[in-house]
Symmetry: C2
Subunit: 210 residues, 2 copies
């Protein structure tokens, strides 16, 4: 199985969260079954692309019958590992860190925020969404005492490499980097560099085409 999964192209992997979200919306609307054609209209991807994407994971659907929405939602959630209860910490309790910590979407997707860290004395000890902000000096102690899967980096650019290395050294396996830089680790660590200006640039392009 694992050698099959490894062949899944990055663009397909990037579409999985979108499928998952859309299917969740359909469930909320009480929709039980959807054809790849109808799903393709919603997703703005061709129906054949959808079938191709799903074939990487063994299909899911019966030709002519469409997909069972709840089953497909649950299967994709499983593939994404959303049922594993991955734990996260946020390092950097500035505006962006606070926004991410306060929002319940991460939790809804199965992630557990178990720690928030900052180096600002005036913030340490305050609570965000019921979690006390800890000193970044205590990062290693916390990481040794608690299994943390994913580190969310909302520290300033200048601090991101050092912070990332500290997390990885203590066993963190994935990093979500919001510091407007490109973090690169060896293959052992998964990294998602999030650039919030990218969609703004895409938007600028799209406006020009209208």
């Amino acid at each position: 199985m694992s050698e099959n999964i490894k062949k899944v192209p990055a663009v397909v992997v990037k579409r999985l969260p979108r499928y998952y979200r859309y299917l969740g919306e359909l469930m909320k609307q009480g929709i039980k079954r959807i054809s790849s054609n109808a799903l393709s209209v919603k997703m703005n991807v061709t129906a054949s692309q959808i079938r191709q994407d799903f074939n990487y994971f063994g299909g899911f659907g019966q030709q002519g019958y469409g997909y069972n929405v709840e089953h497909l939602h649950s299967e994709i959630g499983e593939i994404l590992g959303l049922n594993d209860g991955d734990t996260t910490v946020i390092v950097g309790a500035g505006n962006l860190g606070r926004a991410l910590a306060s929002h319940n979407t991460f939790e809804k997707r199965g992630f557990k925020l178990i720690g928030i860290f900052d180096n600002d004395e005036s913030i340490i000890g305050t609570e965000i969404n019921g979690i006390e902000v800890m000193s970044v000096d205590d990062l290693e102690d916390f990481l040794h005492a608690n299994r943390v899967d994913i580190g969310i980096l909302t520290v300033p650019k200048a601090a991101v490499v050092e912070t990332a290395e500290r997390l990885v050294k203590c066993g963190v396996k994935g990093l979500m980097n919001f510091s407007y830089t490109e973090l690169n680790f060896d293959k052992k660590v998964a990294v998602e560099n999030v650039h919030l200006s990218d969609p703004l640039m895409t938007l600028s392009y799209k406006i020009k085409q209208k």
Copy 2:
């Protein structure tokens, strides 16, 4: 020209900001020329994919010589419309709105933030990054007095549709939606729905594969 540009697939458009960022990094490092092979390693895309992508816009490079970094950076910036000085407003001055307003990356990409709006009396009148937060009641007046190209929506989910419609009615051509919902407008309005939990789900998947 415009009928050619219309055929550019969405995935290619999504890669343009990444190319733009990488080339900017190369310029900072003083690199003048890069082969599609070297660029492909950096971008984690195949060299033939890069050539294919660039062919949508007429090429840019000479076989064997590689690409002139500064020229390519400037061409892609032009295609993205980053030299047009698009104006933006942020509606919703909560943590996320403040984070986006405080960061200078949008400005560096050529976007001009000219207004921030909220409905919270305790925030209205305060300054974020030198811009006074205005009452959302004054949105229409402001939009009639100022050309605004892009609206950045960091309002709560329940307010997003109404806010988006108010912006569009006053001539805003693009919306960047951070409200964890899927906004859909007719083809006249460009929308980028940003889901901050998507990269977290992708990360969860990648961790499972390691």
